[in-house]
């Protein structure tokens, strides 16, 4: 008998007793064992722990059958703290580190009946757009093993795209959930800033970071978001607001009355032809479902990358000061005459090149004499960008853009040129700067047969509108059902 795959289908089958959670879990572990030597999507797999948890769910099924993610195998980006598994953020500086606590999202997933099978590869400390900055090797794109999966949540996106697990968590600071989801042909959702607790997420840029799901369909993304969202007193930036049942917001089929804004000026340069034609076709689908397309302007968005990279690196330079070889992680060996020698050696040896670049850029823009010209200026531009979104959302309910200006690029193609790499985030950083929710859904392929993602954005706390639009698009198309050819070891 064929086992169910999506989170919603697994939950139904396990709750009804038709399928054992142990069988679903073993099948996921088998797929990982089969494919991951080629993909390198996982940093750590906890087969024993996952199977024990699955057996417990089967044993206690009568008590647990109401749980929304019962028996669903889930993978976590390796910057989310797990007590029973190592958490390294794909950095040498945290090699072997097992945190003494679970992140809030881990507690929520487990209370909802999910089975955490392992941790996924990412750019070191979530800093990157290709997963090439992992200290433990690049993750490969299941659609073309010579290409990057996007980043920084590249392992989570590749694991879902290759159908190893139905659901994975990522974190999104400037596009790190949406861009890899787009480049791997799956759905990636960044909720409103503050919707999901960051307690236990290794901080990169605290005013931008947000955890969210990567899945193969909107129903699973909605299901997961209902579990993840909600106030957490342990995160002072967590929003104290009621959480709608997102799964019920996607039931309605028509988009009649929905106003969709298209920032045509922003899309007019630097977008690959195949991406543009897929987006135009997707807009046509939204219109055919009753949405009204309107031109909108986000005039300051072309300055978004510059503002983003100054703000994010400034916050990172402060957040990453804690990796100093004292309380956790790896201490640099050899040069330790004084405390400062030890700090410098630990951090010099423990961090990779991109993390060092960003810490230095952030330190520079916060330093005396440069603060006003760079950091404060970037924060003012952040205000202008947020105001652009406010103004656009007076006219429209949803804004549509490509998630990424290109399909997945080749391994190594952009590693020598940081600015070129940063430009991959041109359409995604705006949602983080403004704090609004955004989703990427599969909407076609480029001429090279690489997936394209349609990005939809809405007002803060209006995830329901976003998910309803995305679900209507999904129902009218079959892009989300396209799968890469099976990836096997050596193949």
């Amino acid at each position: 008998m064929t086992l169910p795959f999506t989170a919603a289908a697994v939950r139904r089958a396990v709750a009804s007793g038709r399928v054992a959670a142990v069988d679903v879990c073993q099948a996921a572990l088998d797929r990982i064992a089969q494919a991951d030597s080629a993909l390198n999507a996982f940093r750590h797999v906890d087969a024993e722990g996952a199977l024990a948890r699955a057996a417990e769910i089967d044993r206690r099924r009568d008590d647990l059958m109401h749980l929304p993610l019962l028996g669903v195998p889930v993978a976590l980006k390796d910057n989310i703290c797990t007590r029973r598994m190592p958490t390294t953020a794909s950095s040498h500086v945290l090699e072997g580190y097992c945190p003494p606590y679970d992140a809030e999202v881990v507690e929520r997933l487990e209370s909802a009946g999910a089975i955490i099978v392992g941790k996924t590869n990412c750019d070191e400390f979530a800093m990157g757009s290709s997963t090439e900055n992992s200290a433990y090797g690049v993750t490969r794109n299941p659609w073309d093993l010579e290409r990057i999966p996007g980043g920084s949540s590249g392992g989570s996106a590749a694991a879902v795209a290759a159908r190893l697990v139905p659901l994975a968590l990522g974190s999104d600071t400037g596009g790190s959930i949406r861009q890899p989801a787009a480049l791997c042909g799956v759905t990636g959702f960044k909720p409103t800033y503050g919707r999901v607790s960051r307690y236990g997420l290794l901080a990169f840029a605290s005013s931008l970071d947000q955890i969210g799901p990567i899945a193969t369909c909107i129903e699973d993304a909605a299901l997961a978001t209902s579990v993840l969202a909600g106030h957490d007193p342990r995160d002072a930036t967590s929003v104290d607001a009621s959480v709608p049942d997102f799964a019920s917001s996607i039931v309605e089929g028509s988009l009649t009355g929905l106003r969709v804004g298209v920032p045509r000026t922003l899309m007019s340069e630097g977008v690959e032809a195949g991406v543009l034609s897929a987006i135009e076709a997707a807009l046509g689908v939204l219109a055919s479902r009753g949405a009204k397309l309107l031109d909108v302007e986000l005039p300051h968005s072309r300055h978004g990358i510059a503002a983003y990279y100054l703000i994010a690196t400034a916050e990172a330079s402060s957040n990453l000061a804690r990796y100093d070889g004292v309380r956790y992680g790896v201490r640099g060996k050899g040069i330790d005459r004084t405390l400062i020698d030890m700090y410098e050696h630990t951090r010099g040896a423990g961090f990779g090149a991109e993390v060092k670049r960003r810490i230095m850029l952030g330190t520079y823009v916060l330093s005396a004499g440069y603060y006003e010209a760079y950091y404060r200026k970037a924060q003012q531009v952040r205000t202008l960008i947020s105001r652009d979104y406010d103004a656009a959302f007076e006219q429209v309910d949803v804004i549509a853009l490509p998630t990424s200006p290109t399909g997945a690029f080749r391994l190594g193609e952009r590693t020598a040129d940081p600015v070129l790499m940063y430009l991959a985030d041109v359409f995604t950083v705006g949602a983080n700067l403004a704090g609004v929710p955004a989703i990427s859904v599969p909407c076609g392929f480029t001429a090279d047969n690489l997936p394209v993602g349609l990005q939809l954005t809405s007002r803060k706390m209006e995830e329901g509108t976003l998910l309803r639009a995305a679900a209507a698009f999904e129902r009218a198309t079959d892009w989300h059902e396209r799968q890469p050819a099976a990836v096997t070891a050596g193949g």
């Binding site: 945190p99 040896a349 060092k356 205000t383």
Partner: protein
């Protein structure tokens, strides 16, 4: 404002950030950070006079909790992850803080 970083300036910043760099890294970062800062120069085109800075997407309040005693991370567990703990004394050990020998 200069948007070009000399290798000596890179060394100064690296020290502020407590990062040891090799000579190759210093020269590479001088070039790459100069390119990033030149890209960021475009922000100067925008007139931001009178625009308040945004430090955070939420209108933040500072929530207060009741002043009651709650358990925190036990000391032994906190020491478990440390590279050089003194478990008996309950301390993180570090090299000397002042001067060289």
């Amino acid at each position: 404002m200069s948007s070009s970083l000399a290798p000596e300036e890179v060394e100064r910043i690296a020290h502020l950030a407590r990062l040891s760099l090799t000579a190759e890294e210093r020269d590479l970062f001088a070039r790459q950070l100069t390119a990033v800062l030149q890209y960021a120069e475009q922000l100067q085109e925008l007139d931001t006079s009178g625009v308040p800075p945004t430090s955070h997407p939420l209108a933040l309040s500072a929530p207060l909790r009741d002043d009651e005693i709650r358990p925190s991370l036990p000391r032994a567990e906190a020491l478990e992850s440390a590279p050089d703990p003194d478990r008996a004394a309950g301390l993180f050990k570090v090299p000397r803080v002042l001067g060289g020998a």
